[in-house]
């Protein structure tokens, strides 16, 4: 099987949120109970264990005016997935290019939620496990596109071979740059070994709530262990060796000197 992916063109998204509804309907996820107005038309206010995708609203100042953008947010299905790396029970794994959580193995420790650079994994208190977008693997493995892609009215989301999507995305970025969007760029081609949700964005990633250079949570693991153990070694040497061994030796030598 060749590598599949999805491409979101932010310049085409109209913020209808049909993808959110399709996701909930296909995956039988319940609605959110916390629907307070937080000063934005965004709804629900954040991703959760039962909201696997949502549209984020961004108002960006451009050329003296304000440009309104919408970005679909969900698990990016990273090639180098932090959630998979930190999972202590092996519940999170790649099935092909997609990252899935085995609900029969997950212990609900929440480590994956804290390791994800995109805040896309969440613990589900009623179920007790972590849950997230699974790329509609039941649909994709039967040659259907994911529910959110299928429903997108303006065609802002495309699903297909990753290589073909990248070629199309580069062409679209070039076209945008030549037509009044000089900061247009592609996000996800190389980040974390390559994401399986690619984005055409009209500006720097930080303007769209995306980390500029997302890191694998375990990247600095060796340095963290070594740093901690070196600190333990320094603390063993300075107060303990100095105060206990060194003093004992000094006391013993002075006692020996006194006896002579």
């Amino acid at each position: 099987m060749t590598e599949k992916a999805a491409l979101v063109d932010i310049t085409k998204c109209m913020g209808c949120r049909a993808c959110q509804v399709a996701c909930k309907a296909w995956n039988d996820n319940s609605g959110e109970t916390d629907t307070r107005n937080t000063g934005s038309y965004e709804n629900p206010p954040h991703l959760s264990a039962s909201t696997w995708t949502r549209i984020e609203f961004y108002e960006i100042g451009r050329n003296g005016g304000v440009q309104w953008y919408f970005r679909k947010h969900q698990c990016m299905h990273c090639t180098n997935a932090s959630c998979e790396a930190v999972c202590p029970t092996g519940a999170i794994s790649h099935m092909g290019e997609f990252v899935v959580i085995d609900q029969n193995i997950c212990i609900g420790c929440g480590y994956c939620a804290l390791a994800c650079p995109f805040d896309a994994v969440h613990r589900d208190p009623p179920r007790g496990t972590a849950r997230k977008c699974w790329f509609c693997l039941d649909r994709v493995s039967n040659d259907y596109e994911p529910a959110c892609v299928k429903t997108c009215p303006p065609g802002a989301i495309e699903f297909g071979e990753r290589d073909e999507l990248l070629t199309a995305a580069h062409a679209r970025v070039d076209s945008l740059r030549n037509n009044g969007h000089p900061n247009a760029r592609l996000y996800g081609e190389n980040e974390l070994g390559g994401l399986h949700w690619l984005y055409i964005i009209d500006g720097p990633p930080s303007e769209f709530g995306l980390p500029e250079s997302p890191q694998l949570a375990t990247n600095a693991l060796v340095g963290q262990w070594v740093g901690g153990l070196i600190t333990a070694g320094v603390l063993a040497a300075i107060p303990f060796w100095l105060l206990f061994r060194r003093k004992r030796e000094l006391e013993e030598s002075s006692r020996a000197g006194g006896e002579q």
Binding site: P88, G108, L114, L221, T231, R245
Partner: protein, 300 residues
């Protein structure tokens, strides 16, 4: 959204204290030529229940506590939580066996003498204490690596969280040994030894302060998105009162001032409470607040 709440920072505090107490007591005993076994016993007797309570909190915090056994069904060197579970398991196992061997006379009927086996028992206890020492060092490091190996800027923007937690674990470990020796009125531990432990804590606190300053500077200059916001949250944001009063004053400056003011002095009578017990209590509370604000702050 808070994923790890109070059970986790309590667990990190208890596990750190357990490992830190054993680490410190083992070093003192070995460096003093094996003459401070009473200290090692206090650290072990206090550390094991602390570690087990911490483990119960950790299990209670799981979404599926009944599947806890799965942590021991996997051994993954890349996952700090997997490694931490094994480290805690080995440390508790070694410490429990040490406790059993120290009290082996009580488990054997009086008619059976184990005098002939005594050298072997002592050899095994000595070997286990070395194993427990290595795993105590790993345990106190793991409590920081668990947080640092994530994508929360306050925890992951620097590699100093493990170092900070190591220093704090040894400081709180010394404090719990000192308080237990004082409250238990242990005859085997002299006032002079308690004063010296307090002096060791002063040096640990100075190193902890240096690490904390380095941590703050690193956060301030880090290119990781959210790192400077994390620093602001700690120093001028909603967690600032807890940081300045709970960590800077309670965990560091007050105990350091009291410990330095009594450096080298002979502490007599009730003066021991102000000179040694008060700073130790401050260190314990400050260590708890440090973990609480780092764990909570990383998720805000």
């Amino acid at each position: 959204m808070i994923t790890w709440g109070s059970p986790i920072w309590l667990y990190l505090w208890l596990a750190g204290m357990a490992g830190g107490a054993f680490f410190a007591a083992f070093l003192v005993d070995r460096l003093m030529g094996g003459t401070q076994k009473a200290l090692l016993r206090i650290a072990t007797y206090v550390g094991v229940p602390f570690a087990i309570i911490g483990l119960i909190l950790l299990i209670a915090d799981l979404g599926m506590p009944i599947r806890f056994w799965r942590l021991l069904a996997e051994f993954d060197v890349v996952s700090a939580m997997s490694m931490g579970t094994w480290i805690l398991f080995v440390w508790v196992a070694a410490a429990v066996i040490m406790i059993i061997l120290w009290n082996i006379d009580r488990f054997i009927p009086g008619s059976i003498s184990i005098d002939r086996a005594r050298p072997a028992v002592d050899l095994i206890t000595g070997a286990l204490s070395w194993i427990a020492f290595v795993f105590a060092a790993l345990l106190i490091t793991y409590t920081g690596v668990l947080l640092a190996s994530s994508n929360q800027p306050l925890w992951a923007a620097t590699i100093l969280v493990p170092s900070l937690f190591v220093a704090s674990a040894i400081s709180t470990g010394l404090a719990v040994v000192i308080i237990t020796a004082l409250v238990g009125r242990s005859q085997a531990i002299s006032r002079r030894m308690i004063a010296r432990l307090s002096e060791a804590d002063a040096i640990v606190i100075i190193i902890e302060m240096v690490i904390l300053i380095g941590f703050a500077i690193w956060l301030g200059v880090s290119a990781m998105g959210g790192a400077t916001e994390g620093l602001k949250l700690l120093t001028i944001g909603t967690l600032a009162p807890a940081f300045w009063v709970g960590v800077v004053l309670l965990a560091l400056l007050i105990p350091l001032g009291l410990e330095l003011s009594n450096w080298g002095k002979e502490i007599k009578g009730r003066a021991v409470w102000l000179a040694v017990a008060v700073p130790s209590v401050c260190v314990l509370l400050g260590g708890l607040i440090l973990r609480a604000i780092i764990v909570a702050g990383g998720q805000m």
